[in-house]
Symmetry: C2
Subunit: 314 residues, 2 copies
Protein backbone atom coordinates (compact mmCIF):
# COMPACT_ATOMS: atom_id res chain seq x y z
CA UNK A 1 0.00 0.00 0.00
CA UNK A 2 1.32 3.37 -1.01
CA UNK A 3 1.05 6.13 1.54
CA UNK A 4 0.51 9.77 0.90
CA UNK A 5 3.95 10.76 2.16
CA UNK A 6 5.59 8.80 -0.62
CA UNK A 7 4.15 11.18 -3.17
CA UNK A 8 6.83 13.79 -3.09
CA UNK A 9 6.38 16.17 -5.98
CA UNK A 10 9.63 16.20 -7.92
CA UNK A 11 9.14 19.80 -8.92
CA UNK A 12 9.39 20.58 -5.20
CA UNK A 13 5.88 21.87 -5.05
CA UNK A 14 5.29 19.94 -1.87
CA UNK A 15 3.63 16.68 -1.00
CA UNK A 16 0.76 15.35 -3.07
CA UNK A 17 -2.63 14.32 -1.71
CA UNK A 18 -1.64 10.81 -2.82
CA UNK A 19 -3.92 8.19 -4.32
CA UNK A 20 -7.34 9.50 -5.21
CA UNK A 21 -10.41 8.03 -6.79
CA UNK A 22 -12.93 9.30 -9.33
CA UNK A 23 -16.46 8.93 -7.97
CA UNK A 24 -19.84 9.19 -9.65
CA UNK A 25 -23.04 10.83 -8.47
CA UNK A 26 -26.19 9.93 -10.34
CA UNK A 27 -29.34 12.01 -10.02
CA UNK A 28 -32.31 13.35 -11.99
CA UNK A 29 -33.71 9.90 -12.50
CA UNK A 30 -36.91 9.95 -14.53
CA UNK A 31 -39.51 11.17 -13.86
CA UNK A 32 -37.42 13.74 -11.95
CA UNK A 33 -35.24 14.93 -14.83
CA UNK A 34 -33.28 18.18 -14.71
CA UNK A 35 -35.16 21.03 -16.31
CA UNK A 36 -32.52 22.78 -18.39
CA UNK A 37 -32.46 26.50 -19.14
CA UNK A 38 -33.38 25.71 -22.74
CA UNK A 39 -36.61 24.13 -21.51
CA UNK A 40 -35.42 20.61 -22.39
CA UNK A 41 -35.27 17.85 -19.79
CA UNK A 42 -32.31 15.61 -19.07
CA UNK A 43 -32.01 12.56 -16.88
CA UNK A 44 -30.59 10.49 -15.44
CA UNK A 45 -27.49 12.63 -15.03
CA UNK A 46 -24.11 11.31 -13.92
CA UNK A 47 -21.58 13.71 -12.44
CA UNK A 48 -17.99 12.49 -12.07
CA UNK A 49 -16.24 14.08 -9.13
CA UNK A 50 -13.30 13.86 -6.76
CA UNK A 51 -12.72 15.10 -3.25
CA UNK A 52 -9.52 15.78 -1.31
CA UNK A 53 -9.08 16.38 2.41
CA UNK A 54 -11.74 15.78 5.03
CA UNK A 55 -15.13 17.40 5.48
CA UNK A 56 -15.13 18.71 9.05
CA UNK A 57 -18.00 18.22 11.48
CA UNK A 58 -19.52 21.61 10.70
CA UNK A 59 -19.31 20.88 6.94
CA UNK A 60 -18.04 24.43 6.57
CA UNK A 61 -14.50 23.85 5.26
CA UNK A 62 -15.46 23.27 1.63
CA UNK A 63 -13.67 24.67 -1.41
CA UNK A 64 -15.31 24.00 -4.74
CA UNK A 65 -12.87 23.91 -7.67
CA UNK A 66 -14.34 24.36 -11.16
CA UNK A 67 -12.42 23.27 -14.23
CA UNK A 68 -11.94 24.89 -17.62
CA UNK A 69 -13.20 23.90 -21.08
CA UNK A 70 -11.49 20.55 -21.56
CA UNK A 71 -10.61 19.78 -17.95
CA UNK A 72 -11.88 17.10 -15.62
CA UNK A 73 -12.53 16.33 -11.97
CA UNK A 74 -8.96 15.15 -11.40
CA UNK A 75 -7.50 18.22 -9.70
CA UNK A 76 -4.82 16.61 -7.54
CA UNK A 77 -3.11 13.36 -6.65
CA UNK A 78 -2.58 10.16 -8.59
CA UNK A 79 -4.93 7.34 -9.59
CA UNK A 80 -2.38 4.62 -8.82
CA UNK A 81 1.13 4.18 -7.49
CA UNK A 82 2.51 4.03 -11.03
CA UNK A 83 0.38 6.86 -12.41
CA UNK A 84 2.98 9.09 -14.14
CA UNK A 85 1.01 12.31 -13.90
CA UNK A 86 -0.83 14.06 -11.08
CA UNK A 87 -4.10 16.00 -11.40
CA UNK A 88 -4.17 19.25 -13.34
CA UNK A 89 -3.82 21.61 -10.31
CA UNK A 90 -1.64 19.45 -8.10
CA UNK A 91 0.67 22.42 -7.67
CA UNK A 92 -2.13 24.31 -5.90
CA UNK A 93 -4.18 21.64 -4.14
CA UNK A 94 -2.60 19.37 -1.51
CA UNK A 95 -1.32 19.19 2.04
CA UNK A 96 0.38 22.49 2.87
CA UNK A 97 -0.33 23.93 -0.55
CA UNK A 98 -2.26 27.13 -1.36
CA UNK A 99 -5.53 25.21 -1.22
CA UNK A 100 -4.47 23.19 1.80
CA UNK A 101 -6.11 19.77 2.02
CA UNK A 102 -5.03 19.58 5.68
CA UNK A 103 -7.55 22.35 6.28
CA UNK A 104 -10.09 22.19 3.50
CA UNK A 105 -12.38 19.67 1.91
CA UNK A 106 -11.91 20.22 -1.82
CA UNK A 107 -14.54 19.15 -4.32
CA UNK A 108 -14.26 19.16 -8.10
CA UNK A 109 -16.77 17.72 -10.53
CA UNK A 110 -16.57 17.24 -14.28
CA UNK A 111 -19.00 19.63 -15.95
CA UNK A 112 -22.28 18.60 -17.52
CA UNK A 113 -21.79 18.16 -21.29
CA UNK A 114 -18.16 17.08 -20.98
CA UNK A 115 -16.74 13.64 -21.78
CA UNK A 116 -14.67 12.97 -18.67
CA UNK A 117 -17.21 10.91 -16.76
CA UNK A 118 -20.17 13.26 -16.53
CA UNK A 119 -23.19 13.01 -18.80
CA UNK A 120 -22.58 14.56 -22.19
CA UNK A 121 -23.19 13.95 -25.89
CA UNK A 122 -20.93 10.87 -25.87
CA UNK A 123 -22.92 9.26 -23.01
CA UNK A 124 -25.44 6.56 -23.69
CA UNK A 125 -28.93 7.95 -24.15
CA UNK A 126 -31.03 5.49 -22.13
CA UNK A 127 -34.04 6.22 -24.32
CA UNK A 128 -32.19 5.03 -27.42
CA UNK A 129 -29.49 2.70 -26.04
CA UNK A 130 -26.84 4.55 -28.01
CA UNK A 131 -24.82 7.75 -27.52
CA UNK A 132 -26.86 10.92 -27.43
CA UNK A 133 -24.74 12.63 -30.09
CA UNK A 134 -26.76 15.70 -31.22
CA UNK A 135 -29.84 14.44 -29.37
CA UNK A 136 -28.07 15.73 -26.28
CA UNK A 137 -29.71 19.01 -25.31
CA UNK A 138 -27.71 22.19 -25.26
CA UNK A 139 -26.58 22.90 -21.70
CA UNK A 140 -25.71 26.29 -20.24
CA UNK A 141 -23.36 27.50 -17.56
CA UNK A 142 -26.43 27.72 -15.33
CA UNK A 143 -27.19 24.05 -15.97
CA UNK A 144 -23.62 23.09 -15.10
CA UNK A 145 -23.87 24.95 -11.81
CA UNK A 146 -27.28 23.38 -11.08
CA UNK A 147 -25.65 19.95 -11.42
CA UNK A 148 -22.80 21.01 -9.11
CA UNK A 149 -25.36 22.22 -6.59
CA UNK A 150 -27.09 18.82 -6.75
CA UNK A 151 -23.76 17.16 -5.98
CA UNK A 152 -23.15 19.42 -2.97
CA UNK A 153 -26.67 18.68 -1.74
CA UNK A 154 -25.84 14.98 -2.04
CA UNK A 155 -22.67 15.51 0.00
CA UNK A 156 -24.64 17.40 2.65
CA UNK A 157 -22.85 20.68 1.97
CA UNK A 158 -24.92 23.84 2.32
CA UNK A 159 -22.20 26.46 2.17
CA UNK A 160 -18.74 26.70 0.58
CA UNK A 161 -15.82 28.77 1.80
CA UNK A 162 -14.79 29.51 -1.76
CA UNK A 163 -15.55 28.66 -5.37
CA UNK A 164 -12.40 28.77 -7.49
CA UNK A 165 -11.86 28.34 -11.21
CA UNK A 166 -10.29 29.76 -14.36
CA UNK A 167 -11.56 30.43 -17.88
CA UNK A 168 -14.82 28.46 -18.36
CA UNK A 169 -14.32 27.46 -14.70
CA UNK A 170 -14.24 31.15 -13.83
CA UNK A 171 -17.55 31.65 -15.64
CA UNK A 172 -18.99 28.93 -13.43
CA UNK A 173 -17.59 30.74 -10.38
CA UNK A 174 -19.38 33.93 -11.45
CA UNK A 175 -22.59 32.01 -12.15
CA UNK A 176 -22.38 30.46 -8.66
CA UNK A 177 -22.14 33.87 -7.03
CA UNK A 178 -25.39 35.07 -8.57
CA UNK A 179 -27.32 31.80 -8.72
CA UNK A 180 -26.63 30.66 -5.16
CA UNK A 181 -25.22 33.75 -3.40
CA UNK A 182 -26.16 32.46 0.06
CA UNK A 183 -24.04 29.34 -0.41
CA UNK A 184 -20.86 31.13 -1.43
CA UNK A 185 -18.66 32.82 1.19
CA UNK A 186 -16.01 33.87 -1.34
CA UNK A 187 -15.25 33.53 -5.02
CA UNK A 188 -11.98 33.37 -6.95
CA UNK A 189 -12.72 33.78 -10.66
CA UNK A 190 -9.51 33.60 -12.68
CA UNK A 191 -8.80 34.63 -16.29
CA UNK A 192 -12.48 34.82 -17.11
CA UNK A 193 -15.31 37.09 -18.17
CA UNK A 194 -18.99 37.78 -17.54
CA UNK A 195 -19.58 37.23 -21.27
CA UNK A 196 -17.63 36.49 -24.42
CA UNK A 197 -16.74 39.29 -26.78
CA UNK A 198 -17.51 39.05 -30.50
CA UNK A 199 -13.90 37.99 -31.04
CA UNK A 200 -14.14 35.12 -28.55
CA UNK A 201 -17.39 33.96 -30.17
CA UNK A 202 -15.72 34.19 -33.58
CA UNK A 203 -12.86 31.91 -32.50
CA UNK A 204 -15.28 29.39 -31.01
CA UNK A 205 -17.52 29.39 -34.05
CA UNK A 206 -14.62 28.76 -36.42
CA UNK A 207 -13.45 25.91 -34.16
CA UNK A 208 -16.95 24.41 -34.26
CA UNK A 209 -17.07 24.76 -38.04
CA UNK A 210 -13.74 22.92 -38.26
CA UNK A 211 -15.31 19.94 -36.49
CA UNK A 212 -18.56 20.09 -38.41
CA UNK A 213 -16.74 20.33 -41.76
CA UNK A 214 -14.97 17.02 -41.10
CA UNK A 215 -16.89 14.37 -43.09
CA UNK A 216 -16.30 11.92 -40.25
CA UNK A 217 -18.38 14.14 -38.00
CA UNK A 218 -21.56 12.81 -39.71
CA UNK A 219 -23.83 15.35 -38.06
CA UNK A 220 -22.50 14.22 -34.68
CA UNK A 221 -23.22 10.55 -35.20
CA UNK A 222 -19.67 9.16 -35.37
CA UNK A 223 -19.39 7.01 -32.24
CA UNK A 224 -19.63 3.71 -34.12
CA UNK A 225 -17.14 4.68 -36.82
CA UNK A 226 -14.07 6.83 -37.48
CA UNK A 227 -14.01 10.01 -35.44
CA UNK A 228 -13.65 13.56 -36.81
CA UNK A 229 -10.04 13.69 -35.64
CA UNK A 230 -8.79 16.09 -38.30
CA UNK A 231 -11.56 18.56 -37.54
CA UNK A 232 -11.11 18.24 -33.79
CA UNK A 233 -7.34 18.73 -34.10
CA UNK A 234 -7.94 21.82 -36.19
CA UNK A 235 -10.42 23.14 -33.63
CA UNK A 236 -7.81 22.66 -30.93
CA UNK A 237 -5.16 24.46 -32.97
CA UNK A 238 -7.55 27.40 -33.32
CA UNK A 239 -8.11 27.27 -29.55
CA UNK A 240 -4.40 27.24 -28.85
CA UNK A 241 -3.91 30.41 -30.88
CA UNK A 242 -6.04 32.10 -28.22
CA UNK A 243 -4.28 30.54 -25.22
CA UNK A 244 -1.08 32.52 -25.75
CA UNK A 245 -0.82 36.26 -26.23
CA UNK A 246 0.91 37.77 -29.23
CA UNK A 247 3.76 38.76 -26.93
CA UNK A 248 4.17 35.35 -25.29
CA UNK A 249 4.15 33.70 -28.72
CA UNK A 250 6.94 36.04 -29.82
CA UNK A 251 8.89 35.10 -26.73
CA UNK A 252 8.17 31.35 -26.85
CA UNK A 253 8.57 30.79 -30.61
CA UNK A 254 9.45 33.97 -32.51
CA UNK A 255 10.28 32.97 -36.07
CA UNK A 256 12.52 30.12 -34.99
CA UNK A 257 12.58 27.02 -37.14
CA UNK A 258 11.98 23.51 -35.80
CA UNK A 259 15.06 21.26 -36.15
CA UNK A 260 16.23 22.87 -39.38
CA UNK A 261 18.40 25.71 -40.64
CA UNK A 262 16.33 26.85 -43.58
CA UNK A 263 12.92 26.57 -45.23
CA UNK A 264 11.83 23.36 -46.92
CA UNK A 265 9.93 25.26 -49.65
CA UNK A 266 6.92 23.02 -49.29
CA UNK A 267 3.92 22.88 -46.93
CA UNK A 268 5.65 21.15 -44.04
CA UNK A 269 5.62 22.82 -40.64
CA UNK A 270 9.01 24.56 -40.58
CA UNK A 271 8.36 27.12 -37.84
CA UNK A 272 8.36 26.08 -34.19
CA UNK A 273 4.95 27.68 -33.69
CA UNK A 274 3.55 25.45 -36.45
CA UNK A 275 5.03 22.30 -34.89
CA UNK A 276 3.64 23.33 -31.52
CA UNK A 277 0.12 23.76 -32.90
CA UNK A 278 0.28 20.45 -34.75
CA UNK A 279 1.41 18.71 -31.57
CA UNK A 280 -1.36 20.27 -29.50
CA UNK A 281 -3.98 19.34 -32.09
CA UNK A 282 -2.86 15.75 -32.50
CA UNK A 283 -2.50 15.15 -28.77
CA UNK A 284 -5.98 16.49 -28.07
CA UNK A 285 -7.97 14.04 -30.20
CA UNK A 286 -6.88 11.15 -27.97
CA UNK A 287 -8.47 12.66 -24.91
CA UNK A 288 -11.48 14.69 -25.90
CA UNK A 289 -14.80 14.20 -27.66
CA UNK A 290 -15.57 16.44 -30.64
CA UNK A 291 -19.26 16.81 -29.79
CA UNK A 292 -18.40 17.81 -26.22
CA UNK A 293 -16.23 20.59 -27.59
CA UNK A 294 -19.19 21.81 -29.66
CA UNK A 295 -21.51 21.81 -26.65
CA UNK A 296 -19.09 23.39 -24.19
CA UNK A 297 -17.95 26.18 -26.51
CA UNK A 298 -21.60 26.96 -27.28
CA UNK A 299 -22.38 27.10 -23.56
CA UNK A 300 -19.48 29.52 -23.13
CA UNK A 301 -20.70 31.72 -25.99
CA UNK A 302 -24.27 31.80 -24.66
CA UNK A 303 -23.09 32.75 -21.16
CA UNK A 304 -23.93 36.37 -20.45
CA UNK A 305 -24.14 37.16 -16.79
CA UNK A 306 -24.98 40.80 -17.43
CA UNK A 307 -27.88 40.14 -19.82
CA UNK A 308 -29.12 37.20 -17.78
CA UNK A 309 -29.43 39.38 -14.70
CA UNK A 310 -31.03 42.38 -16.32
CA UNK A 311 -28.31 44.05 -18.38
CA UNK A 312 -28.29 44.84 -22.08
CA UNK A 313 -27.23 42.23 -24.61
CA UNK A 314 -24.49 44.01 -26.57
CA UNK B 1 -19.30 53.83 -76.79
CA UNK B 2 -19.15 54.71 -73.13
CA UNK B 3 -16.95 57.62 -72.21
CA UNK B 4 -14.94 58.09 -69.06
CA UNK B 5 -17.01 61.04 -67.91
CA UNK B 6 -20.08 58.85 -67.69
CA UNK B 7 -18.52 56.88 -64.86
CA UNK B 8 -19.56 59.03 -62.00
CA UNK B 9 -18.92 57.24 -58.75
CA UNK B 10 -22.20 57.15 -56.88
CA UNK B 11 -20.43 57.29 -53.53
CA UNK B 12 -19.23 60.72 -54.66
CA UNK B 13 -15.63 59.66 -54.71
CA UNK B 14 -15.16 61.37 -58.04
CA UNK B 15 -14.96 60.24 -61.63
CA UNK B 16 -13.76 56.74 -62.47
CA UNK B 17 -11.02 55.92 -64.95
CA UNK B 18 -13.79 54.31 -66.99
CA UNK B 19 -13.53 51.13 -69.03
CA UNK B 20 -10.31 49.26 -68.46
CA UNK B 21 -8.85 46.03 -69.76
CA UNK B 22 -6.88 43.22 -68.18
CA UNK B 23 -3.69 42.56 -70.13
CA UNK B 24 -1.23 39.71 -70.02
CA UNK B 25 2.55 39.71 -70.18
CA UNK B 26 4.23 36.40 -70.87
CA UNK B 27 7.94 35.91 -70.21
CA UNK B 28 10.46 33.35 -68.94
CA UNK B 29 9.90 31.14 -71.96
CA UNK B 30 12.02 27.99 -71.76
CA UNK B 31 14.97 27.73 -71.82
CA UNK B 32 14.97 31.14 -70.10
CA UNK B 33 12.84 30.22 -67.07
CA UNK B 34 12.73 32.33 -63.92
CA UNK B 35 15.18 31.11 -61.32
CA UNK B 36 13.16 31.23 -58.11
CA UNK B 37 14.63 31.92 -54.67
CA UNK B 38 13.97 28.28 -53.79
CA UNK B 39 16.31 27.21 -56.59
CA UNK B 40 13.44 25.88 -58.70
CA UNK B 41 12.80 27.15 -62.22
CA UNK B 42 9.47 28.35 -63.57
CA UNK B 43 8.44 29.24 -67.11
CA UNK B 44 6.71 30.38 -69.10
CA UNK B 45 5.20 32.89 -66.68
CA UNK B 46 2.08 34.93 -67.38
CA UNK B 47 1.49 38.12 -65.43
CA UNK B 48 -1.96 39.69 -65.60
CA UNK B 49 -1.86 43.46 -65.29
CA UNK B 50 -3.74 46.68 -65.83
CA UNK B 51 -2.63 50.24 -66.40
CA UNK B 52 -4.45 53.54 -65.90
CA UNK B 53 -3.47 57.00 -67.11
CA UNK B 54 -0.76 57.72 -69.68
CA UNK B 55 2.95 57.05 -69.55
CA UNK B 56 4.60 60.39 -70.25
CA UNK B 57 7.47 60.91 -72.66
CA UNK B 58 10.10 60.68 -69.92
CA UNK B 59 8.50 57.47 -68.58
CA UNK B 60 8.97 58.94 -65.12
CA UNK B 61 5.34 59.34 -63.97
CA UNK B 62 4.85 55.72 -62.91
CA UNK B 63 3.10 54.55 -59.74
CA UNK B 64 3.21 50.82 -59.09
CA UNK B 65 0.28 49.54 -57.00
CA UNK B 66 0.72 46.16 -55.31
CA UNK B 67 -2.27 44.18 -54.13
CA UNK B 68 -2.91 42.17 -50.97
CA UNK B 69 -3.31 38.41 -50.42
CA UNK B 70 -6.43 37.69 -52.44
CA UNK B 71 -6.47 40.79 -54.61
CA UNK B 72 -5.98 41.20 -58.32
CA UNK B 73 -4.74 43.61 -60.97
CA UNK B 74 -8.11 45.36 -61.22
CA UNK B 75 -7.42 48.46 -59.13
CA UNK B 76 -9.79 50.92 -60.78
CA UNK B 77 -12.48 51.35 -63.39
CA UNK B 78 -14.95 48.93 -64.92
CA UNK B 79 -14.60 46.09 -67.40
CA UNK B 80 -17.76 46.98 -69.29
CA UNK B 81 -20.50 49.55 -69.32
CA UNK B 82 -22.74 47.23 -67.30
CA UNK B 83 -20.04 46.06 -64.88
CA UNK B 84 -21.70 46.63 -61.46
CA UNK B 85 -18.49 46.99 -59.49
CA UNK B 86 -15.34 49.03 -59.97
CA UNK B 87 -11.80 47.91 -59.14
CA UNK B 88 -10.79 47.39 -55.50
CA UNK B 89 -9.13 50.81 -55.01
CA UNK B 90 -11.31 52.91 -57.28
CA UNK B 91 -11.75 55.34 -54.41
CA UNK B 92 -8.02 56.12 -54.54
CA UNK B 93 -7.03 55.73 -58.18
CA UNK B 94 -8.65 57.82 -60.91
CA UNK B 95 -8.80 61.28 -62.46
CA UNK B 96 -8.43 63.86 -59.70
CA UNK B 97 -8.15 61.21 -57.00
CA UNK B 98 -5.30 60.71 -54.53
CA UNK B 99 -3.41 58.67 -57.09
CA UNK B 100 -4.36 60.94 -59.95
CA UNK B 101 -4.51 59.23 -63.32
CA UNK B 102 -4.46 62.64 -65.01
CA UNK B 103 -0.88 62.91 -63.75
CA UNK B 104 0.37 59.40 -63.20
CA UNK B 105 0.67 56.15 -65.12
CA UNK B 106 -0.54 53.53 -62.68
CA UNK B 107 0.46 49.89 -63.05
CA UNK B 108 -0.85 46.94 -61.07
CA UNK B 109 -0.12 43.28 -61.75
CA UNK B 110 -1.60 40.16 -60.22
CA UNK B 111 1.06 38.47 -58.11
CA UNK B 112 2.87 35.30 -59.09
CA UNK B 113 1.19 32.31 -57.43
CA UNK B 114 -2.27 33.88 -57.46
CA UNK B 115 -5.30 32.75 -59.48
CA UNK B 116 -6.42 36.03 -60.98
CA UNK B 117 -4.71 35.71 -64.34
CA UNK B 118 -1.07 35.30 -63.37
CA UNK B 119 0.71 31.95 -63.28
CA UNK B 120 -0.05 29.98 -60.14
CA UNK B 121 -0.93 26.47 -58.97
CA UNK B 122 -4.23 26.52 -60.88
CA UNK B 123 -2.49 27.39 -64.17
CA UNK B 124 -1.80 24.73 -66.78
CA UNK B 125 1.63 23.18 -66.37
CA UNK B 126 2.84 23.03 -69.98
CA UNK B 127 5.09 20.08 -69.12
CA UNK B 128 2.07 18.01 -68.04
CA UNK B 129 -0.85 19.61 -69.91
CA UNK B 130 -2.82 19.86 -66.68
CA UNK B 131 -2.89 22.29 -63.71
CA UNK B 132 0.32 22.50 -61.73
CA UNK B 133 -1.44 21.87 -58.40
CA UNK B 134 1.35 21.06 -55.88
CA UNK B 135 3.90 20.71 -58.71
CA UNK B 136 3.87 24.49 -58.71
CA UNK B 137 7.06 25.60 -56.96
CA UNK B 138 6.86 27.66 -53.80
CA UNK B 139 7.27 31.33 -54.69
CA UNK B 140 8.53 34.08 -52.41
CA UNK B 141 7.89 37.78 -52.08
CA UNK B 142 11.22 38.23 -53.86
CA UNK B 143 9.97 36.12 -56.78
CA UNK B 144 6.78 38.17 -56.99
CA UNK B 145 8.82 41.37 -57.17
CA UNK B 146 11.14 39.84 -59.79
CA UNK B 147 8.09 39.17 -61.97
CA UNK B 148 6.85 42.75 -61.45
CA UNK B 149 10.28 44.03 -62.44
CA UNK B 150 10.12 41.94 -65.63
CA UNK B 151 6.77 43.56 -66.45
CA UNK B 152 8.18 47.06 -65.92
CA UNK B 153 11.15 46.17 -68.15
CA UNK B 154 8.68 45.07 -70.78
CA UNK B 155 6.83 48.39 -70.47
CA UNK B 156 10.13 50.28 -70.80
CA UNK B 157 9.95 51.67 -67.28
CA UNK B 158 13.23 52.08 -65.45
CA UNK B 159 12.12 54.10 -62.45
CA UNK B 160 8.87 54.47 -60.49
CA UNK B 161 7.74 57.54 -58.60
CA UNK B 162 6.21 55.37 -55.92
CA UNK B 163 5.39 51.78 -55.03
CA UNK B 164 2.19 51.55 -52.98
CA UNK B 165 0.47 48.60 -51.32
CA UNK B 166 -1.08 47.24 -48.14
CA UNK B 167 -0.72 44.01 -46.20
CA UNK B 168 0.95 41.44 -48.51
CA UNK B 169 1.13 44.31 -51.00
CA UNK B 170 3.03 46.30 -48.39
CA UNK B 171 5.50 43.45 -48.01
CA UNK B 172 6.08 43.68 -51.75
CA UNK B 173 6.62 47.44 -51.39
CA UNK B 174 9.29 46.80 -48.74
CA UNK B 175 10.88 44.09 -50.87
CA UNK B 176 11.00 46.49 -53.83
CA UNK B 177 12.86 49.11 -51.77
CA UNK B 178 15.68 46.75 -50.92
CA UNK B 179 15.76 44.61 -54.07
CA UNK B 180 15.67 47.47 -56.60
CA UNK B 181 16.42 50.59 -54.55
CA UNK B 182 17.61 52.54 -57.59
CA UNK B 183 14.26 52.08 -59.32
CA UNK B 184 12.13 53.36 -56.45
CA UNK B 185 11.82 57.09 -55.76
CA UNK B 186 9.36 56.61 -52.89
CA UNK B 187 7.49 53.84 -51.12
CA UNK B 188 4.11 53.75 -49.37
CA UNK B 189 3.87 50.49 -47.37
CA UNK B 190 0.50 50.29 -45.60
CA UNK B 191 -0.64 48.01 -42.75
CA UNK B 192 2.28 45.69 -43.23
CA UNK B 193 5.42 44.28 -41.66
CA UNK B 194 8.99 43.31 -42.43
CA UNK B 195 8.15 39.82 -41.18
CA UNK B 196 5.27 37.89 -39.68
CA UNK B 197 5.14 37.30 -35.95
CA UNK B 198 4.61 33.82 -34.52
CA UNK B 199 0.94 34.72 -34.09
CA UNK B 200 0.52 35.66 -37.75
CA UNK B 201 2.25 32.43 -38.81
CA UNK B 202 -0.02 30.49 -36.45
CA UNK B 203 -3.16 31.94 -38.04
CA UNK B 204 -1.89 31.19 -41.54
CA UNK B 205 -0.86 27.65 -40.65
CA UNK B 206 -4.27 26.85 -39.17
CA UNK B 207 -5.92 28.29 -42.30
CA UNK B 208 -3.72 26.08 -44.47
CA UNK B 209 -4.53 23.05 -42.34
CA UNK B 210 -8.23 23.80 -42.79
CA UNK B 211 -7.81 23.51 -46.55
CA UNK B 212 -5.55 20.47 -46.39
CA UNK B 213 -7.92 18.65 -44.00
CA UNK B 214 -10.74 18.90 -46.55
CA UNK B 215 -10.95 15.48 -48.28
CA UNK B 216 -11.76 17.26 -51.53
CA UNK B 217 -8.33 18.88 -51.43
CA UNK B 218 -6.79 15.58 -52.58
CA UNK B 219 -3.24 16.71 -51.94
CA UNK B 220 -3.89 19.72 -54.16
CA UNK B 221 -5.15 17.70 -57.14
CA UNK B 222 -8.80 18.77 -57.20
CA UNK B 223 -9.15 20.73 -60.43
CA UNK B 224 -11.02 17.96 -62.26
CA UNK B 225 -13.41 17.23 -59.38
CA UNK B 226 -15.19 18.85 -56.45
CA UNK B 227 -13.18 21.63 -54.85
CA UNK B 228 -12.24 21.87 -51.15
CA UNK B 229 -14.89 24.54 -50.62
CA UNK B 230 -15.56 23.77 -46.95
CA UNK B 231 -11.88 23.92 -46.10
CA UNK B 232 -11.35 27.09 -48.11
CA UNK B 233 -14.37 28.77 -46.49
CA UNK B 234 -13.03 27.81 -43.08
CA UNK B 235 -9.60 29.20 -43.98
CA UNK B 236 -11.25 32.45 -44.99
CA UNK B 237 -13.22 32.61 -41.73
CA UNK B 238 -9.94 32.23 -39.84
CA UNK B 239 -8.45 34.99 -41.97
CA UNK B 240 -11.39 37.28 -41.30
CA UNK B 241 -10.90 36.93 -37.55
CA UNK B 242 -7.58 38.68 -38.09
CA UNK B 243 -8.92 41.41 -40.37
CA UNK B 244 -10.84 43.13 -37.57
CA UNK B 245 -9.47 44.13 -34.19
CA UNK B 246 -11.06 42.98 -30.96
CA UNK B 247 -12.34 46.53 -30.50
CA UNK B 248 -13.79 46.90 -33.98
CA UNK B 249 -15.53 43.52 -33.63
CA UNK B 250 -17.10 44.71 -30.37
CA UNK B 251 -18.27 47.83 -32.14
CA UNK B 252 -19.45 46.12 -35.35
CA UNK B 253 -21.12 43.05 -33.80
CA UNK B 254 -20.92 42.95 -30.01
CA UNK B 255 -23.10 40.10 -28.81
CA UNK B 256 -26.00 41.08 -31.05
CA UNK B 257 -28.10 38.27 -32.50
CA UNK B 258 -28.86 37.90 -36.18
CA UNK B 259 -32.57 38.28 -36.99
CA UNK B 260 -33.73 36.75 -33.74
CA UNK B 261 -34.58 37.67 -30.16
CA UNK B 262 -33.13 34.68 -28.33
CA UNK B 263 -30.88 31.66 -28.72
CA UNK B 264 -31.94 28.67 -30.80
CA UNK B 265 -30.22 26.20 -28.44
CA UNK B 266 -28.62 24.35 -31.33
CA UNK B 267 -25.52 24.84 -33.46
CA UNK B 268 -26.97 27.42 -35.83
CA UNK B 269 -25.21 30.76 -36.16
CA UNK B 270 -27.21 32.97 -33.79
CA UNK B 271 -24.72 35.77 -33.27
CA UNK B 272 -24.17 38.42 -35.93
CA UNK B 273 -20.44 37.80 -35.85
CA UNK B 274 -21.05 34.15 -36.70
CA UNK B 275 -23.31 35.03 -39.64
CA UNK B 276 -20.72 37.50 -40.86
CA UNK B 277 -17.96 34.89 -40.83
CA UNK B 278 -20.16 32.32 -42.59
CA UNK B 279 -20.99 34.87 -45.27
CA UNK B 280 -17.36 35.81 -45.80
CA UNK B 281 -16.32 32.16 -46.02
CA UNK B 282 -19.04 31.13 -48.44
CA UNK B 283 -18.55 34.15 -50.69
CA UNK B 284 -14.81 33.57 -50.94
CA UNK B 285 -14.89 30.08 -52.45
CA UNK B 286 -16.48 31.44 -55.62
CA UNK B 287 -13.59 33.72 -56.38
CA UNK B 288 -10.40 32.17 -55.07
CA UNK B 289 -8.35 29.03 -55.53
CA UNK B 290 -7.52 27.01 -52.42
CA UNK B 291 -4.02 26.09 -53.58
CA UNK B 292 -3.24 29.74 -54.30
CA UNK B 293 -4.18 30.57 -50.73
CA UNK B 294 -1.72 27.92 -49.53
CA UNK B 295 1.08 29.29 -51.68
CA UNK B 296 0.49 32.97 -50.95
CA UNK B 297 0.17 32.55 -47.17
CA UNK B 298 3.36 30.48 -47.17
CA UNK B 299 5.16 33.19 -49.14
CA UNK B 300 3.96 35.72 -46.55
CA UNK B 301 5.19 33.55 -43.66
CA UNK B 302 8.60 33.01 -45.28
CA UNK B 303 9.05 36.74 -45.92
CA UNK B 304 11.65 38.15 -43.52
CA UNK B 305 13.23 41.31 -44.77
CA UNK B 306 15.45 41.63 -41.70
CA UNK B 307 16.89 38.11 -41.86
CA UNK B 308 17.16 38.19 -45.62
CA UNK B 309 19.30 41.32 -45.46
CA UNK B 310 21.58 40.28 -42.65
CA UNK B 311 19.48 40.41 -39.45
CA UNK B 312 18.77 37.65 -36.96
CA UNK B 313 15.94 35.19 -37.54
CA UNK B 314 13.89 35.51 -34.36
Amino acid sequence: MTTVSEYIDHDQHGVSVGIVEKKFFIFAQPPHEMLLESGAKLGPVTIAYETYGELDATKCNVILVLHALTGDSHVAGYYSSDDPKPGWWDIMVGPGKAIDTNLYFVVCSNILGSCMGSTGPSSINPAADRPYALDFPLVTLGDMVTAQKALLDHLGITRVLSVVGGSLGGMQVLEWTVKYPDMVASAIPLATTTRHSALAIAFNEVARQAIMADPNWHNGDYYAGPKPDLGLALARMIGHITYLSDESMRHKFGRRLQDRMDFSFDFDANFQVESYLHYQGTKFVDRFDANSLLYLTKAADYFDLEYQYGGARP
